[in-house]
Point group: C3
Chain length 354, copies 3
């Protein structure tokens, strides 16, 4: 790593230095471990006290944190988390790709591999694959026949693509991810499960990211599709025929069942799921562990089965009160029974009965 | 792909042509993309309108859809989804297996590999493994010592078998699946977790299918068993000592904890789970995200903890009404308190008190 | 396997023989399959009847089962499950490690590999990795640059470590586990997800175990840490920056979201999850499928969102009664309405109105 002027970093992210723009920064580190040679950052108000106690030489923060009680030089910008992303790219540039095909790689007939691409040790490419400029095929990656890997895409060690899978430019596939395995389709016939051949494939558009050990199944026909800029975390399951829009976030261990259609900018939090053959509209946010069992047009949902988030929260609060409410209900019934008896007595005798 | 007479396909599936049996079909495609040279299919009434609007030259459908308003030639049969499966097998035959052992494969001492089997690049077989006729060992597959792979079985790229695992004839294991890793068994002793050696193994019977990145743990003793014809989707977890019957379906991200016994034809929907040391009877169906925490003899269950499906649905409806019900309860209490006060006043004075 | 004197096994685990200490044991097997040459075991009272019916020649059991009706020779000890673990280690010793580097392994520049370590076929080690004495690097394992694998650690076939990951002494990583893939960090900017570079790494301390196909993400900065003796089951997700203490158990398919801090001896049952940026105290036990959405100091929790276990159980019972309770509530409202009408009549006329 090198050393960077704070003023240079401010120019990079369109921010303003409050303090000394000549301050040298050698690394970016969290508040609790940063020292005088480090830039640290305050991206959430919950960490304000920690920021004031930090020994960091410089602090990246938002406009509304400008008044922080700190001796650090400040880098003020409108969106410090986004700025952090850009500064990290600048301070920790990705290692340069070493072009070329490792001698142990097995390359099928008819493959077209750009000379600027890198193919690692023990990679196995089926026939007629295409690998674009600057793409990186990591060690032990397997591509089935007729796969296409776009420019600048990265397949990390041990990623597996079945046949005919398309990976868009700039897309990243992490280790252990499996793209294009058979969809889970069986016709139950006489009590047995008869496999429905899955003759489609998988398409990842540009700038997609697929987490470690996630699985995206091939379509029964045509293609399962993950739209441009969508990001899948680790251990995510995407069933056959699913269509996912752009700029979605699918957090760890979430799952989308077959033939569901997910809009743009949709977020599934951790361990959430959607049933098959439904539609989730643009910008919908699904809470952790929620089960989306019917189509959702918009808004935020939670619970299993998922309902709108405000309803779910009311249900959770109400459920917490339920055991006591049942006792209150029993008391009411007893009281009312007593009233009824008394009333019956009054009606029968015209006087109080006890 | 070739071209097929509709009459030929009807004979294959025992169906009836309504229209021209000489109609040529080149591919099978979904309703919305099929054209005049394609066979499409209507396997669920929800798609009837789409079927009527389809440009497909031929349509596969059930008896009760015979009256469809369509110019297409019809292939009518009792179970169109099952027929679809058979037609796809006919139209898209599996690529022939190229027998032989890739020169880069590492074969342990004492292995017996049928000459008609295929062993891919970089496969590693431990000592004394057996591979049956027509079996396919994909690239990068690892077999521990003394594994057995049955006739016609397929282990896709990057499948991993620990030692002594048995894979039945015709069974398919998808990429990244791990069979026979140690079960999760520890004796807590003085606050620390002491590993209990897992000296059993795993048996997959015939015609089983294991999805991508699923894990089936070896037994502590004896064997974890998946019964004939059962199908596991992706990212499914099967704990040590589990016994799964025949023709079960375990959907994506479902999990069965250690020592559970699952009957025949059981279905676990996505993200559902079963606790350890319990029994699930034949034909039980477990809803998505349900948590089976006790034994279930029969029927359908849902919820966490799982109860019979009708009860769960009633609970879900009731929970939705609960926040309002709590308000109703409070109103009742107030009214009753007022009545009680009034009654007390009446009894005390003999007249109305307000 | 050899043959062992019961007295020798008793000495090993500090137990007492009731019966013949010269009894020979050839294998350890479960109650239902053990025969006269086997040692079996009773580690849970639920299996007492099975133990009495067992044909095992010898039985390992706890003090309070000493009175068992059985002709077997007994090995009585305070903690039979822990004793079982030690006896299995004795009877089934781990296969000896064959030191050396397989000729097909690709070793980066500047690696330091202890001569007593084993590196399997097709392993790929990046530059400047360190492998300690007696460590086992299985076939197809990939290590990124500058990884460190401690003495006696085992990386099973197809484990993947990204760069700079540290694996402590005696730690076991099962097949398909991925350590150090990028954390799931994006800055949403203008509707798009901008990747926040993940420049930290992962540290597994000593005697950790990571299950098959689990994923532990690298930290954004610094390190994601799994404390000494903690065990992760299969398909477990650990997000970036997470800190897990010592001797924890994370069961199958559980997940810990980013930046959460988990104490010592914490248990997450199957499919449970914790949200990010929270703290879970020492000895907390989280029930299956529970969703920990806020910090928990101590005790046992269940439900989604998780509450203390006793409350959750009361909620479950109450929810079961809820549909009927709603009917009771409606009846009460009707009765009260009738009373009110009657009362109104009484007040208006001074006499009964019906």
């Amino acid at each position: 790593l090198g050393s960077f002027r704070l003023g240079e970093l401010a120019a990079l992210v369109g921010g303003e230095v409050v303090g000394d723009p000549e301050r040298r920064v050698e690394a970016v580190r969290p508040l609790d471990v940063a020292g005088p040679a480090d830039l640290s950052f305050l991206t959430h108000p919950r960490y304000r006290e920690q920021a004031e106690a930090s020994r960091a030489g410089a602090l990246l923060l938002a406009e509304d944190a400008r008044g922080l009680a700190s001796a650090a030089d400040l880098l003020v910008c409108p969106d410090p988390y986004h700025a952090l992303s850009r500064i990290l790219d600048h301070v920790h540039p990705r290692p340069a790709v070493t072009p070329g095909i490792h001698p142990t790689a097995v390359i099928g007939e008819g493959c077209t591999i750009d000379p600027s691409a890198s193919v690692g040790p023990y990679a196995v490419l089926g026939e007629e694959c295409t690998v674009g400029p600057g793409a990186v095929i990591g060690p032990h990656v397997c591509l089935g026949p007729r796969c296409s890997v776009g420019a600048g895409a990265t397949l990390h060690a041990h990623a597996v693509l079945y046949d005919r899978v398309t990976v868009g430019a700039g897309t990243v596939v992490h280790s252990g991810a499996v793209l294009g395995a058979d969809g889970f389709g069986y016709a139950t016939h006489g009590g047995a499960q008869v496999k429905v051949p899955q003759v489609g494939t998988v398409t990842l558009e540009e700038e997609v990211e697929i987490g470690a050990n996630s699985a995206v199944d091939r379509a029964t026909f045509e293609t399962t599709r993950i739209g441009r800029g969508s990001k899948l975390d680790n251990l995510v399951q995407v069933g056959h025929n699913v269509q996912i829009g752009r700029d979605c976030l699918l957090c760890g261990q979430s799952g989308i069942a077959g033939s569901a259609r997910i809009g743009d900018r949709v977020v599934f939090a951790g361990q959430a799921g959607a049933a098959g053959h439904l539609t989730v509209g643009d910008d919908v946010q699904v809470a952790a562990q929620a089960a989306v069992l019917g189509s959702v047009e918009s808004g935020r949902v939670g619970g299993a089965p998922a309902v709108d988030l405000a309803s779910w929260r009311r249900q959770v609060v109400a459920l917490h009160k339920l055991p006591e409410a049942l006792r209150r209900l029993s008391r009411l019934e007893k009281e009312l029974a007593r009233l009824r008896e008394r009333e019956a007595g009054t009606r029968a005798t015209g006087v109080e009965t006890d």
